[in-house]
Symmetry: C2
Subunit: 469 residues, 2 copies
C-alpha cells in the first residue's frame, strides 16, 4: 500500500469526521448506525454525503462493520475515486466480495488511480476471466506494470515494490537533482524518502535521504552525500524484507533484479502491513485457526477450524487410550480418575508457555543454532523450578483429600516429570519444525498438548499402579 | 529509536559484514563463535576488530546470543560511540545488565550522541542514584531534554517523540524553507520526512512532505502545498499512536502539548518497534507468560510463569472437584473416566480458537460495540457447526468401544454442548475484560480453559448419571 500524501484530517477538523471518528480515530457506533439506516432506506444521496469525506482507510473499516447486504449498497454509492483508494485497504474476504459487485469498466478506470503495487494487489484477487477483461480495458502502460508485478511470486519483494522510484546518476550534484525533480515531478512517485544514486548500468551504488539533500548546497555532488544502502532483491521473501526494515530502521529501500539493476522501491508503510499480517498469522496459528478475517463466511471459518479440532479429537482419543490401559487401577482407586486431569492440565499449560516463547524467539530471529542448546537447557531448568514450586502444594492437597500420603507423593512426582516433558516438547517441537523449514507456529500447540496429555496420564497412572497396588 | 542516516552495508559490501551476516541479515553462528573465542582468550584487539564495523542493531543482536560473562567482555571493548548507538537497540533485560558495567562518565558522554528519545529510553533504565550522577555529568541542554522526556508518562507519545523537529512559519515559501534548512542544518533532526507549518503561536496548521517541497518551484508558498495533518497529543498512549500511523500509512506526525503547540515529532520507525512490542505482549499473555525476553534470568522467567501455572493448578483442582461429585457414577462405569478428558480437551481447544480470534479483533480494533452482538452469534453458530460435524465421529467410536450406544449418545451430546460453552466464554471473556478496560489477552486463556474443563466434566458426567444409572 503506498503512503498517503493526503493525511486524514484529525477528528476535530471537519464536521463529518467529527461524527464518524471518536477521539481514538475509531469509527463511532453512532456513525455506523447512520450508514446502516441510510442503506436500509436506500437513500443514496444521504449515503454519499456520509461517505464522501471519509479517508479510504475509514471506508475500509466501515465495510468491516457492515453486513454483506449493506456493503453492497455502500459499494454502489461510493464515489469512484474513493472506491479505488478503498480497495487496497480492504480485508481479503471483503475485497473479493466487493470486487464481484463492481462492473469491470469501472474497475479498470479505478485501478489507473492506484500505484502499481496497489493495483496489482487488487487485480490478484479477481477471477481469471474477469482479470483478463479488466486488464484488457486498461491503457497499455498500466496493464504492463500490473502484469509485470503479478509475474513475481506472491509474498516476494517484487510483488511488494512500487515501480515508481527516484534515481539519479552518479555525476549529478544536489542542484541537478532538485532541478530534475522540479521538471519531472509528474513521473516520480508521489512521495519518496530516499534518492537512489545509480551507475551507468542502473545499479544502485548509494542513497541520499531527501532531508539530507535539502540541507546541502546546490554544488555538492551526490556521491559526497550518499550512504551505503540495504538492497532488496526482487525474489526475497516479504518476511525477510520486513526483518531488514525493522532491524535497521529503514524508511525505504531499493529493489534490484538478478543483474543488480534498480527496478523499484519498497517503503516502510508496506512493511508495517506485513509485520501485522505475519503477527496475525502466528497468533492465530498457535491457537489452531487457519486464515480467517472479519470478512470470512461461517462455512469458511468452520473449514479453517474443524481440521485442528479433528486432530485434537484424535490426540484426545490417544490420551483416553492411555487411561484405558489403567482401567484396573482406576477401578480400585477412583480418586486417581479425579486427580489425573490436574497433571495433564498443568503440563499442557507449561508446554504452551515454553512453546510460545520459542515460536516468538524464532519469529524475531532471536533464536538460532548459536543459542538453541542454551535455550533448551534454560527451559528445562525453568520447568524443574516450576515443578518444585508447585508440586508440594498439590501433593499435600491430594494427600489430605484422599487420606493417603502415597497418592500425594505420586501426583507431585508425576507433576514434576510432566513439567520436564512439557519443557522438552515445548522447545523441541518448534525448533524441529523450523529446522525442517516448516512454520513453527502451525500444529505445534496441538502436538505439545497431545504429548503432555499422553505423558501426564501415563506417568501419573503408571506411578500409581506401581506404588499403590 | 531514531531512524538511521547510515544504512547498514549489505552483506556483500564489506569483509567483516560478510563474515558476520548470512544472506538474510542474521548473524552467523560462525561469527558468534569467533566473538566467543576472542572473549574467552581475553583478546581485546581481535574483539574490537570483529565488532567495530558492525551496525549497532547487529551488536545488539550479538549481545542476545552471548552469555552474561561474554557480554561483559564485549561491553568493555566496544568503541564508545558504537556502545552509545547500541544501547537503545538492546532488549530491556540485557540493557540493564550492560548499563551496570559502564562507568557513569562514559555513559554521560555516550548519551550525548543520541537523540533525546533514545537517550531518555536509556536513562530510564538506570537506578535512581546512578541516574542522578549520569545526568549531573551531562551538559545542561542535553540533561534538560532528557528530564523533560522522562516527565511524560511511560508509554505516552511524549516519551516516544523526539524534540528535534522541522517547523516553518505560515508565511514562508518553498525557497525560504530550503534556505533555512541549508543554514540551520545542524540544529534540525538528522532525518525528517515532513515539514510542519505552524501559526504564530507555534501550533501546527499543516504539513508538507519533503519530496513535495523538492518538487515545487521556490516561489510557491508553503500554505499552498500543505496538507492536513494527524496531530498526536503528548499524553496519548503509544498503542493509539501506533494505530493512527498504521491506519493512515503515516511516516511522521507532529506532537502537540495541551495548548496545541508543536513540541516534537514521532517517526514511523518508532512505531514499528511498538507494534512488535504490543504483538509480543499479546502472544505471550495469551499463553500465560508475563514479560520475558532473552535477557531475562531464570528466576525472572520462573516468577513470570509460575503465577499463571498456579492459577491453572487452582482451576484444575476445581475441575477435579466436579469429577469427585460423580465418584459413585465413575465407580460403576469406569469407561466414563476414560472418555471424560476428550470432552474437556475439545472444549478447551475450541474456546482458545474463539478467544484468540476475538483478542486479535479487539487489538486491531476490528471489533467494537457495533458488531459485538453479531460476532457473538457468529461464534455460537460456528461452535454448533463444529459440534455437529465432530460429535458423530466420537459418538460412534465411543459406542463401539464401550459396546453401549447410550455412552456414544452421551459423549456426542456433551461435546456439542461444551462447544457452545466454549464459543460463549471464548467471545465474552475478552469482550468483558476489554469493556472493563483490562487487557483482554491477560488471564483470558486460563479462564476459558477452566470453564470448558468445568462444564466439560459437569455436562458429560451429569448426562451420564441421568441416562446410564
Amino acid at each position: 500500500m503506498s503512503t498517503d500524501a493526503i493525511a486524514s484530517p484529525g477528528p476535530e477538523s471537519d464536521e463529518i469526521e467529527h461524527i464518524a471518528l471518536d477521539e481514538d480515530y475509531v469509527l463511532t457506533p453512532a456513525f455506523v448506525e447512520k450508514v446502516v439506516d441510510a442503506a436500509d432506506d436506500g437513500d443514496g444521496m444521504r449515503l454519499r454525503g456520509l461517505l464522501e469525506d471519509l479517508h479510504p482507510a475509514d471506508v475500509a473499516d466501515l465495510m468491516g462493520f457492515l453486513t454483506a447486504e449493506h456493503r453492497a449498497v455502500v459499494t454502489l454509492w461510493l464515489p469512484p475515486e474513493l472506491l479505488a483508494e478503498t480497495l487496497p485497504e480492504l480485508d481479503d474476504g471483503i475485497r473479493e466480495e466487493v470486487l464481484e459487485r463492481v462492473p469491470h469498466l469501472t474497475l479498470a478506470e479505478a485501478l489507473q488511480e492506484l500505484d502499481s503495487d496497489d493495483a496489482a494487489a487488487v487485480v490478484e484477487d479477481l477471477e481469471d476471466d474477469r482479470r483478463e477483461r479488466v486488464l484488457a480495458a486498461m491503457p497499455e502502460l498500466d496493464r504492463a506494470a500490473i502484469e509485470s508485478s503479478l509475474g513475481y511470486a506472491e509474498d516476494s519483494a517484487g510483488r511488494l515494490m512500487q515501480r515508481e522510484v527516484m534515481a539519479a546518476p552518479q555525476f549529478w550534484s544536489v542542484g541537478d537533482t532538485i532541478d530534475h525533480v522540479r521538471a519531472q515531478g509528474e513521473e516520480l512517485p508521489e512521495l519518496f524518502f530516499d534518492i537512489y544514486v545509480v551507475d551507468p548500468l542502473n545499479r544502485p551504488v548509494g542513497g541520499v535521504a531527501v532531508s539530507q539533500l535539502l540541507r546541502a548546497p546546490r554544488a555538492v555532488p551526490l556521491t559526497e552525500l550518499m550512504e551505503p544502502i540495504n538492497e532488496i532483491t526482487v525474489d526475497q521473501d516479504q518476511e525477510e524484507v520486513a526483518y531488514v526494515f525493522e532491524k535497521y530502521h529503514l524508511i525505504s529501500a531499493p529493489v534490484i533484479d538478478s543483474a543488480g539493476r534498480l527496478v523499484g522501491q519498497i517503503t516502510v508503510d508496506d512493511i508495517v502491513n506485513i509485520i501485522q499480517e505475519e503477527n496475525r498469522e502466528d497468533i492465530l496459528r498457535l491457537a489452531g485457526v487457519s486464515d480467517e478475517d472479519r470478512g470470512s463466511s461461517i462455512p469458511e471459518i468452520v473449514r479453517g477450524r474443524v481440521p485442528w479440532l479433528a486432530i485434537n479429537l484424535a490426540t484426545a482419543v490417544l490420551g483416553a487410550s492411555v487411561i484405558s490401559w489403567f482401567g484396573a487401577t482406576l477401578e480400585q482407586i477412583i480418586a486417581l480418575a479425579v486427580l489425573m486431569p490436574i497433571v495433564s492440565a498443568i503440563g499442557g499449560n507449561a508446554g504452551t508457555q515454553a512453546l510460545t516463547v520459542t515460536v516468538r524467539a524464532l519469529a524475531t530471529r532471536e533464536l538460532n543454532s548459536s543459542n538453541a542448546v542454551r535455550t533448551f537447557w534454560r527451559e528445562l531448568v525453568v520447568g524443574l523450578a516450576n515443578g518444585l514450586i508447585l508440586s508440594p502444594l498439590i501433593g499435600i492437597a491430594a494427600a489430605l483429600w484422599s487420606g493417603d500420603w502415597r497418592i500425594g507423593a505420586v501426583i507431585s512426582t508425576a507433576m514434576v516429570l510432566n513439567l520436564l516433558v512439557a519443557a522438552t516438547v515445548g522447545v523441541l517441537t518448534p525448533l524441529t519444525l523450523s529446522r525442517l523449514k516448516f512454520d513453527p507456529a502451525v500444529s505445534s500447540a496441538v502436538f505439545v498438548t497431545a504429548t503432555t496429555d499422553f505423558f501426564g496420564f501415563l506417568i501419573f497412572l503408571g506411578l500409581a499402579t506401581i506404588v499403590l497396588l
